[in-house]
Symmetry: C2
Subunit: 208 residues, 2 copies
């Protein structure tokens, strides 16, 4: 059964338990999906409303984007659990002989690369959600402006949460080129996003 | 049916729809519950582990607190929806005669006070979750330190999201004493929490 098919309360119970997955990576993806869903909500509360007749096309495009990102993020939530399971399996491989030890190392390093790239994709997708929040706040139904504000808070928390999950895996990876490449990608994604969050939050708060 | 008894994917679908609830207030409560659940996870991965023998009592207390806060926050998620429903009902009251108009005003203002105090409680509870994150990061299982980091990101996003929902209701309340009181309470809750988030995030990142 997919994690997202479980009741919210069971998801929380499994998260709180000592089971290794779901963990912070899944929460990052869920947080991003919550942000995307809130952008969609703002759009759905704007579409078909006379007072917003001049922004219908724009809002329609925004909705298509937020829904696509939401789908990607719920998919990434499952992928994060799979990546963790892959790594756990690798860690349990026999390491009695030097040959076994070497093989385990290779499989573990490959699994760690997957476990790095999934949260990196979550981070990339979360940034795309953040990009939709200011247009949603500015053009969307003014009664839902606080929801656009919550959307950016959730998307930025998703980005930063994903970043921690990228970093924890980069710390144990031995392929220096891979590490440098992914660290550079992560730094580029994080750049200026705290400021962006504050700007959208302040804009929303100024409208309340 | 309670919102938290619905599958995660249905929760997201309802959030994205043009139905007024769930909205940003419910997401604030859920975000706080996700933070609390992650603190619990760190504790559960620490309890019974020999390497952490000297912090077992402390971690046990931490877990009791995080689980209590998680329960409060899932309860507040439902209360937020109820508060919104209460306000919607009030808004639909007849306003044909001057008497009806006056009665509707009274009921609406009372409903708005409830709709303000629920997110204020979410904000208060989210701050209590934030308070558990540094102890969890410092004392808990070091393999779960990134989860303590994600916990503070979710709890702080919960606080700020709840704040926006307090502010949107304060804007339409006429009882100036109530507004001043709740605004002061909210300001006190927000004070320094951005810095606190950054400090815990930086501490966690330094351990990865």
């Amino acid at each position: 059964m997919k994690l997202v098919d479980k009741p919210v309360t069971n998801f929380l119970d499994e998260l709180a338990s000592n089971a290794p997955a779901p963990g912070g990576g899944s929460v990052a993806a869920l947080s991003g999906a919550l942000g995307a869903a809130l952008v969609s909500m703002v759009c759905n509360l704007t579409l078909g409303k006379k007072a917003y007749a001049d922004v219908q096309d724009e809002i329609s495009d925004l909705l298509a984007e937020s829904e696509a990102l939401r789908e990607q993020l719920t998919g990434l939530l499952e992928e994060d659990v799979k990546a963790y399971t892959g790594y756990s399996k690798a860690a349990k491989m026999p390491r009695g002989t030097a040959e076994e030890k070497a093989e385990r190392q290779v499989v573990m390093q490959a699994a760690l690369k997957v476990a790095t790239d999934v949260p990196l994709s979550i981070a990339e997708t979360a940034v795309k959600v953040m990009d939709l929040c200011m247009p949603a706040a500015e053009k969307g139904n003014k009664w839902a402006v606080s929801d656009a504000g919550v959307a950016v808070l959730m998307a930025e928390a998703a980005l930063r949460s994903a970043a921690l999950n990228v970093l924890i895996n980069l710390g144990t990876l031995k392929d220096k080129e891979f590490v440098a490449d992914r660290r550079a990608k992560l730094d580029a994604l994080l750049e200026g996003k705290g400021t962006m969050r504050d700007e959208i939050y302040d804009y929303v708060a100024s409208k309340l």
